[in-house]
């Protein structure tokens, strides 16, 4: 770790929008000093918002403590507290927000509410060195093709129904696959897909720069349950079809915006097959391809801390009275003063 000066300032970020509770600590010039993630893994079914929130509340002090310990910084040494204010699941978000408000009041330091989607893009840019990319942000809750223009991240394409990660997760659950800590459903499907050979015909739905994934999911689950193919072939077909769709809209947005960098970010960014598809279109359009490192691809506190730094440096702070969570806070609603 490089030597720190007494003047250096730190932001602690809390991420709790879905199934992960995470605390990250970032210096004001973008060095990540800690990024501790504790995942809630449901025994069965999907994320139950109340159960997830209960998990977050139970692990909050432990995660906070290990992040501080990892960074070697005392609470009194912090300058700003940032938290994921939305979008996400209400109970989960509220748990993180409560911790953030308490810290900010106790330490008498400013609070900054951060948009979760903006944070995924900003950490991607920070860790890959991209400046003004076209970003494909794919996770359990979001599927967005975006680029910065005139003060905001403009959404060029997105899903009309369910998110890409959600499509893979629900399929995996319906197929009775099992996930473990460190091996989420996406990774399980990816592994099985590698042994798939036969491409099953599934609905391919691209509408403009948007995609629709719910019909594909239903068709994949139905075909599998009817025993029309092996699980490997269906994982392969589902991935190939869904990823081809998001790659097609990414290429459309790339041709439309003419950006020179493509950034893949969010939890599904860890998938090697998706990486290779996006690499292919980036090369085709002479753009540089970058993917966020896995530790920062999934939901994490470091991205919230770093985005909190960017916002705070540009005069943005959130008063406690106005710090209520925003479940459906859209990416393009957020003003981004640090990009001009």
């Amino acid at each position: 770790m490089s030597k720190r000066t007494a003047k250096e300032r730190y932001c602690l970020g809390i991420e709790s929008s879905a199934d992960d509770f995470s605390v990250g600590i970032s210096t004001f010039n973008g060095m990540t000093l800690a990024n501790v993630i504790d995942a809630y893994v449901p025994e069965e079914g999907g994320i139950h918002p109340r159960e997830a929130a209960r998990h977050h509340a139970a692990v909050a002090d432990k995660v906070l403590e290990s992040a501080l310990k990892e960074s070697g910084i005392k609470p009194q040494g912090l300058s700003v507290i940032a938290f994921s204010q939305g979008p996400g699941l209400g109970p989960s978000l509220r748990t993180g927000a409560t911790v953030a408000r308490a810290l900010s009041s106790y330490l008498k330091i400013p609070l900054v509410g951060v948009n979760h989607c903006v944070a995924h893009i900003e950490i991607g840019k920070l860790k890959t060195g991209t400046k003004n990319p076209l970003a494909l942000y794919v996770s359990g809750g979001n599927t967005i093709v975006t680029a910065f223009d005139a003060g905001r991240y403009r959404v060029f394409g997105e899903t009309l129904d369910i998110a890409l990660g959600n499509c893979l997760d629900v399929f995996a659950r319906e197929a009775h696959l099992h996930q473990k800590p460190g091996l989420p459903f996406g990774a399980v499907v990816e592994r099985l897909a590698q042994s798939g050979k036969q491409l099953v015909r599934l609905p391919y739905t691209v509408k403009g720069m948007d995609v629709s994934l719910s019909g594909l999911l239903t068709a994949a689950v139905t075909a599998l349950k009817k025993g029309e193919c092996t699980i490997e072939d269906m994982c392969y077909s589902l991935q190939e079809t869904a990823f081809s769709m998001v790659t097609e809209v990414t290429e459309r947005a790339l041709a439309h915006t003419g950006r020179e960098e493509v950034l893949l970010t969010g939890g599904v960014a860890a998938n090697k097959r998706l990486q290779s598809m996006i690499t292919s279109v980036a090369e085709e359009h002479n753009a540089r391809f970058e993917v966020v490192p896995t530790e920062f691809a999934i939901d994490n506190g470091a991205m919230i801390a770093w985005t909190g730094v960017l916002a705070y440096k540009h005069g943005i702070a959130t008063e406690i009275e106005r710090s209520q969570v925003r479940l459906r806070w859209r990416l393009e609603e957020v003003e981004i003063p640090w990009m001009e």
Binding site: I47, N142, R154, L160, K207, S214, T218, S244, H256, S280
Partner: protein, 223 residues
Amino acid sequence: MKRSVLIKKGAEANLYLANWHGRKVVLKKRLPKKYRPRALDEQIRTYRTIHEPQLMHEAKKAGVPTPIVFLVDKAKATIIMQYIHGKQVKQLLNEMSQNERQSICFRIGESVGKLHKYGIVHGDLTTSNLIQNPTGRVFFLDFGLGDKTKELEARGVDLHLMKRALQSTHYAHAEECFENAIRGYSTVLGSETSENVLDKIGQIERRGRYVAERKEKGLMTVN
């Protein structure tokens, strides 16, 4: 077909300007995509190559200007069509006076109304797919993602995509443009149908990206 010049390297197809039996034409060639499996790639390209000229032809019957199709080569996934002299609405819209902008959006809305009334959805209503010729007529291009349907859902998605395209590319005028397009749309489809389509757009926009909320509203249909 000598001296064909690449005029646009699009995401889906390359466009070449060429001379074909003395006519100035555009060759639209859907190139194979390396990223997707060959079977899927061929299926998509062939389908769109056949489908697009059919919809362009139908659009003319609906009273909406589209380029004339001269030749469809299924094996090469190529369409040869009339070259439309003019400018993309994408390039024009931000530079126009407010009056001109309101008028062109109204007329675009009318044309979308004609398509929908006839049973066509365009599927990719961005301003780069609209060309205004010197006489002021707006041609509709790129029907590759279109469909023949009168379903409210499809109409709603079509206009939702148009709204989103305006918001991402013409953010300063998006609201005004969309309002005028809807005014034009209503004159063709009547106020009741357009109200229904507007309601549908609202529903599409509210459609959650979060599984918990969708489940509460009974919008999840996975068994």
